[in-house]
Amino acid sequence: MNYVALKMLFGDRPKYLMLLAGLTFSTMLIVQQGSIFWGLMTWSQSGITNVNAPVWVTDSNINQVEEIKPLADTTVNVVRSVSGVEWAVPLYKGVQRARLRDGNYEQIALVGIESSTLIGRPGKVLDGNIEELRSPDAVAIDQLGVERLGGPENIHLGTTFEINDHRVRVVAIVQTQKSFQNFPFVYTTYERALGVTPEERRKLSYVLASPVSGVSPEELARRIHEQTGLGAFTEDQFGWKTIRWILQNTGIGVNFGTTVLLGFIVGMAISGQTFYLFTVENLPQFGALKAIGASTGMLARMILLQSFTVGSIGYGVGVGLATLFGLTAAGGGRLPFKETWPLLVGVAVALLLICAVSSVISIRKLAKLEPAIVFRG
């Protein structure tokens, strides 16, 4: 019986292709839009993920990572005084202007990390030695900065440029996750960051802390908040806080949500309609099957098999196309594109739903079908 069902499905080439195309593009649209959305969200958290610290301490009213509310210098020691803290180090973060020798200007995200431990430094160094950050005027610049400030001919190890009229020298080129604002990251030591930035009353942006073994980051964040009144978040909590802020304060969520919904509706409309037509056209065959004794349940199973088969194939092709898009158009981090397991599972569920709904329409038709239809011609 299943063989017959599949034979019917693949036998009608134009309808099969039509069904497949509908499901494929629906899948591709949802996956691609969802991935771009998630890619954007990943970029929005790059300020957190690039630093890679377990617990972030800052003002308790902070909304998101790029919104900096500076703290007093002594906060580092206040955090160190909380029990359960293995270490706590200061971090400077802020947007500054860099000027090249040829007069070219670029906004950069300056990150100042504690000089002796270099906690918060990027994990991947493409060129040079990150330890040299401790030498005078040293900075590390990321691959985006190299690209923005004029490519590898202009920016390489030893190049000097200015940050707020202070001369700095590139000692390392690092790999970072791009940020939402798309500013290149420039790393230097905390002390030097204080030196090159304009005078302010407070400059400490964040305190990074790590729990001693046996204390979870969540527990430590809770303790720090309770004992000091400061806002303390684990990496994940801070990331989600940032995402929530972006969804509430920008149109990004609505925008992508609408597109995904449209993809879903269009996919459902096309496949539902095509599948219905397909069933109607094959009514005589189904009638014949019923006439030779197939029950409605068996026909329903056939319909479901057909629908899920084409659904699975459509899903595979769609997801593959979306991945190909990600690898080619958005390869190397040029565009925000990040597929995730939850998204893929969600799309699979959505597709199952589309197939199920389309099948139900057809099954209803079949249930009312009388075997006599075969003889009406």
Binding site: L6, F10, R13, Y16, A53, D59, S60, K69, L71, A72, D73, T74, T75, N77, V78, V79, R80, S81, V85, E86, W87, V89, E114, S115, S116, T117, L118, I119, R121, G123, K124, E131, E191, G195, E199, R201, R223, E226, Q227, T228, G229, L230, G231, S312, I313, G314, Y315, G316, V317, G318, V319, G320, L321, T323, L324, G326, K338, E339, T340, L344
Partner: protein
């Protein structure tokens, strides 16, 4: 059936491609290990503080008594000086010229005394001669009286000449004293820590930077700044350790000396010469033995002070180790304004 196979394999390929891509991309990278071990708290519960190493009895910041040109600096950095040793010399040419004038006026004043003495003797002789004449017709009463007055006048003139001489000497001594003041001397035995002045520079009285810093580098102490928020947690006499910046594997054990009773605005230790005031701190002084590795006056250290696990009665009502929320929580640190 070609179509079926083709679409099936494309679908399988797509899924495999996606899974492969996802597998590679979603691995979370572990943070790179710290270059040096960050300073770690050796006690179960602690009060952390930023400290600076200084000479015992603090460092002496030498300033000039008057503004003036520096003509000679007698010391270099790391010299040991005894109390009263000269440190530097301010320009004294003008005063030396004055001194010369004053000194040279002395012989003249002395000569005036001699002159007056001779004159007095002369007048007294004459008076004596006149008085010895008994014949009233030869010498009139009037002549004798006039000579007597003349003698008295000469006596007074001599007194004045002596007073003038004394004054001239005092004036000379005054110039000498002011002159001596232009040589700045060490107020006590110490080591020269910093020399910020060179011959030929103009030293002003109100300069921000001291001309010379001296201190006793034999015994050192740590001045630990504790944020005022944490000040109640500090228990006098608690043991502590200090770590040099960037040298965290060796701890320097500290012994408690005293708590400065007055909370001061924190001076930023960022190294910027424009000191920023951002919060107030409690300063605690700890002494330490010189460790085997070199430490220097002015070096920054991270200080960890032990505090008892049980809340200290009368001081520590609001805080507890088990995280029961303090009653007056949610005073974000960034809102504690300082009064400069």
């Amino acid at each position: 059936m070609v179509l079926r196979r083709l679409s099936f394999w494309i679908a399988v390929g797509g899924i495999i491609l996606t899974i492969a891509t996802l597998w590679g991309a979603n691995k979370k990278v572990a943070p790179p290990p710290p270059m040096e071990a960050p300073p770690q708290n050796p006690y179960p519960v602690t009060v952390a503080a930023a400290g600076i190493i200084e000479a015992v009895n603090e460092n002496v910041r030498i300033a000039p008594p008057v503004s003036g040109l520096v003509t000679k600096v007698y010391v270099t950095v790391a010299d040991h000086v005894e109390q009263g040793d000269p440190l530097f010399q301010l320009d004294d040419r003008e005063l030396r010229a004055q001194l010369q004038t004053r000194t040279d006026s002395l012989p003249s004043a002395a000569a005036r005394i001699a002159e007056q003495e001779i004159r007095l003797r002369d007048v007294q002789d004459q008076l004596k001669r006149l008085q010895s004449v008994t014949d009233r017709r030869a010498v009139s009463e009037d002549d004798v009286k006039r000579k007597w007055h003349e003698a008295e006048g000469a006596k007074r003139a001599l007194i004045r000449a002596r007073a003038d001489f004394h004054l001239a000497k005092t004036e000379r001594d005054e110039v000498q004293a002011i002159l001596n003041r232009l040589t700045v001397r060490a107020p006590r035995a110490a080591t020269i820590l910093q020399v910020n002045v060179r011959a030929g520079e103009y030293a002003t009285v109100n300069a921000i930077e001291p001309l010379i810093i001296l201190g006793d580098t034999e015994t050192l102490q740590v001045r630990a700044d504790i944020d005022e928020v944490n000040a109640p947690l500090m228990v006098p006499g608690s043991p502590a350790v200090a770590y040099l910046k960037g040298f965290t594997d060796k701890a320097i054990p500290l012994t408690f000396d005293r708590i400065e009773p007055y909370i001061v605005p924190k001076r930023s230790l960022s190294g910027d010469n424009r000191e920023r005031v951002d919060t107030r701190v409690l300063q605690v002084i700890y002494r330490f033995e010189r460790p085997s590795f070199p430490v220097y006056v002015g070096q920054q250290v991270d200080v960890y002070i032990e505090r008892p696990v049980e809340p200290v009665s009368g001081q520590d009502h609001n805080r507890s180790e088990n995280g029961t929320p303090p009653s007056n929580i949610s005073r974000p640190l960034s809102e504690t304004e300082e009064t400069p």
